[in-house]
């Protein structure tokens, strides 16, 4: 027999992620898919659509909304979820602030990024979710490289990186005590490049801010921030128009743009292939300290 039974890397990653999503549906009572409208969560949503086809994904989608969004992302979010026939839950950071559950940061670099953790954990508890599926990848950041597919969270939503369950072969252990939950990461083994290639291959729509466009930005500590309604200008800062695109779509106050003329998926892929900065290189939230991500994750961040 000379036939070679082999599948290529994107198919292998897709197959693995679909396996994880089906395992999530089978092993948990009330899983939810976290959906921000960013490219990684879009890929997760697409994989969920495939995993359970022709049935609808047996879990709702939830957006933890900082209120500091790019409007393009929100329009996209609503349309995308409607198109795949999903159910959308919006958990709002503004509500957490209004209820006194979270306190807004002060100063010109104030961001609601960290406050999302409060809203997320409250929403998980309120809705009695026992698994929250996210689009985080191990290649994004060094603390994430230690993350499991099925990642345990204690009753306070905390991650204990030094005491994680080993994951072997295709076997995942989702057992937990009352009040605990899991984070599930089907894209663990994907890289930024894999995500873009998959979006291209599958012709998946993405928000327009990923493509090159003209935008008024402020340069702060080497990061280009959108000069939108949520940004407070510091002394001496001046907004200027640049041709940019975004590599991630987080909170508008801390997500940096990159100067780019890539206006198609093909050009973005070329750009990613020759990029000399990681995609999170433009995220002011990660630059706060060397273990900024680890600290946030331990508290229960995505």
């Amino acid at each position: 027999m000379s036939v070679s039974y082999k599948i290529r890397h994107l198919e292998q990653l897709e197959s693995e992620a679909i396996f994880i999503l089906r395992e999530t549906a089978a092993q948990f009572e009330r899983p939810v898919i976290l959906f921000s409208g960013g490219k990684d969560s879009i890929v997760v949503a697409r994989l969920a659509q495939k995993a359970f086809w022709p049935a609808r994904p047996p879990m709702p989608f939830m957006h933890v909304d900082t209120g500091h969004n790019f409007k393009e992302t929100i329009e996209f979010r609503d349309q995308f979820i409607e198109d795949i026939g999903g159910e959308l839950i919006v958990a709002s950071v503004q509500d957490s602030i209004d209820q006194g559950r979270a306190v807004e940061e002060k100063g010109p670099n104030a961001s609601r990024n960290a406050l999302q953790t409060v809203t997320l954990l409250d929403a998980i508890e309120e809705n009695r979710f026992d698994a929250a599926v996210g689009g985080a990848r191990r290649d994004e950041e060094k603390a994430r490289a230690k993350e499991r597919f099925f990642s345990h969270r204690d009753e306070f939503g905390q991650w204990d990186p030094k005491n994680q369950r080993p994951e072997l072969w295709n076997l995942f252990n989702a057992r937990k005590s009352q009040g605990e939950h899991f984070r599930v990461f089907p894209l663990s083994n994907w890289t930024e490049m894999d995500v873009w290639q998959y979006i291209l291959r599958e012709e998946i729509p993405i928000p327009s801010i990923y493509f090159s466009h003209e935008r008024e930005v402020i340069e702060r500590d080497g990061v280009l921030l959108d000069n939108g309604e949520f940004l407070t200008l510091m002394e001496g800062e001046k907004a200027e128009k640049r041709i940019v695109r975004f590599r991630t779509v987080g909170d508008a106050t801390c997500t940096g743009a990159v100067e780019s003329t890539a206006d198609s998926l093909e050009k973005i892929i070329e750009e990613v292939a020759s990029a000399r900065q990681t995609e999170r290189g433009g995220r002011a939230d990660d630059k706060r300290s060397e273990s900024a991500m680890e600290d946030r994750k331990k508290e229960g961040y995505f």
């Binding site: 049935a55 230690k146 030094k162 252990n173 290639q197 291209l200 990029a275 990681t278």
Partner: protein
């Protein structure tokens, strides 16, 4: 497609790296990533900053892989870390496992999904206990390709004699193991000799540099494409008007090849049917094999649920409640309890398992069987007999890594306490 097909359509190789403390494993990974331009400017700047703060002489590439604060503070790797890089030929997933605390547990974990293992040997020290331990685990987990990187050749003056001596030491030891393919490469991870580029310091070495080997080693025959096994993971029933009668058995092929029209038998019921279609989202595929995730529809309505297995009538797995296995114990809280009851997870099935017997424990430094002391603690490897609460459908691990493996879970702490390979 208009983009470079080289990127769209690549092979995937998963490998694990094992080494002892200070043998330069993190430096090697850093070197592979640095020389293949996987490390980005901002990452490099960050580790340059940290190296300076720590007072390291060179840029400390190990800081790239040690992601947790405690690891950087203590200069050690705590947990399995996964790393990614790609060349125009292949995409690579590295399971980087630490060499010290919890070494066995972490290496077993990293090895369980790997096609290839890199084992580092310090050229000054030669084959030491830890080398033997790592090789034994690679053999136990049936990693078919093992690469012995004899590192720090710069510290033995790039000596061919020293290299040959170590190759002989290792070959003698490994004759007692079951490793399909062994490759030896003399390297200096620190200076980059024979990592990505051929070393000018070792003209006597006629083989390939490490990266070339990783790019070209043939791993196509590693998966089982003979014995058809499909553990049912999820039953898809849309209950929609358009797909009113649709009933798909979703799962990931664990072995062999399935095609529409194939006669199949469903375990445990033993009922037979024919495959009506194999669905992958909206398309029907001509064949499905490991590791594809698909949904199988059958001609007949049979009661099938998660944990059942679809196989071929003339090639069935073993069906039994008695399991003979090698296990690696993971828990630091408790030792393995004789007559103890655990939860067993095998393919998509969950059952209870009782420890009926402990036959021996391995001294993995010298491969001796210990029968006098049967206390099985963390990192111990032992041969045990289990009795399960219902029959499992399994093959030997040697025949199929998916249907021959299991984990044990403690019902009280919910922790994964052991990994098992069925004999």
């Amino acid at each position: 497609m208009s983009t470079d097909d080289g990127y769209m359509d690549m092979d995937l190789l998963r490998f694990t790296t094992a080494g002892s403390v200070d043998d330069g494993k993190s430096t090697l990974i850093g070197r592979l990533m640095y020389d293949t331009k996987t490390i980005f400017e901002d990452q490099l700047e960050a580790i340059e900053r940290s190296s300076q703060q720590r007072g390291d002489a060179n840029v400390n590439l190990a800081l790239l892989t040690d992601g947790l604060r405690a690891e950087r503070e203590q200069g050690i790797t705590i947990d399995v870390a996964y790393r990614y890089f790609a060349t125009p030929k292949r995409k690579f997933i590295i399971a980087d496992t630490p060499g010290h605390i919890q070494y066995t547990r972490n290496m077993v974990t990293g090895a369980s999904t790997a096609n290839l293992a890199i084992i580092l040997i310090d050229a000054r020290k030669g084959v030491i206990e830890q080398t033997c331990r790592h090789s034994f685990i690679a053999s136990l987990l049936r990693i078919e390709h093992v690469v012995l990187c004899i590192n720090k050749m710069d510290l033995v003056d790039y000596s061919e004699d020293r290299y040959n001596e170590i190759v002989k030491q290792f070959t003698d030891f490994a004759s007692r193991l079951d490793i399909k393919e062994m490759t030896f490469i003399p390297i200096s991870a620190l200076h980059g000799d024979n990592v990505v580029n051929r070393s000018e310091n070792m003209p006597w070495y006629g083989g390939s540099p490490l990266l070339y080997h990783l790019e070209t080693v043939y791993v196509g025959s590693d998966a089982n494409h003979v014995d058809a096994r499909f553990p049912v993971q999820w039953v898809t029933r849309p209950h929609s008007e358009k797909y009113h009668d649709y009933r798909g058995y979703a799962g990931r092929v664990a072995g062999g090849v399935f095609k529409p029209g194939d006669e199949v038998t469903v375990l445990p019921s033993g009922f037979s049917s024919k495959i009506r279609s194999i669905d992958r989202f909206e398309e029907e595929v001509e064949e499905a094999f490991s590791p594809m995730s698909v949904a199988i529809r059958l001609e007949d309505e049979i009661d099938i649920s998660r944990g059942d297995m679809i196989v071929k009538p003339n090639n069935q797995p073993k069906v039994s409640q008695d399991i003979d296995a090698m296990i690696c114990w993971f828990s630091s809280d408790h030792t393995l309890q004789p007559r103890g009851k655990y939860i067993i997870r095998h393919t998509t099935k969950t059952a209870k398992a009782m420890v009926k017997g402990i036959q021996y424990k391995m001294d993995i430094n010298n491969l001796h069987k210990i029968e006098s002391d049967l206390t099985i603690g963390m990192n111990d490897i032992a041969r045990v007999q289990l009795r399960t609460s219902e029959p499992l459908f399994f093959d030997s691990y040697a025949k199929n890594r998916q249907t021959g493996s299991f984990v044990l879970v403690d019902a009280f702490s919910n922790k994964t306490v052991a990994a098992g390979m069925i004999r």
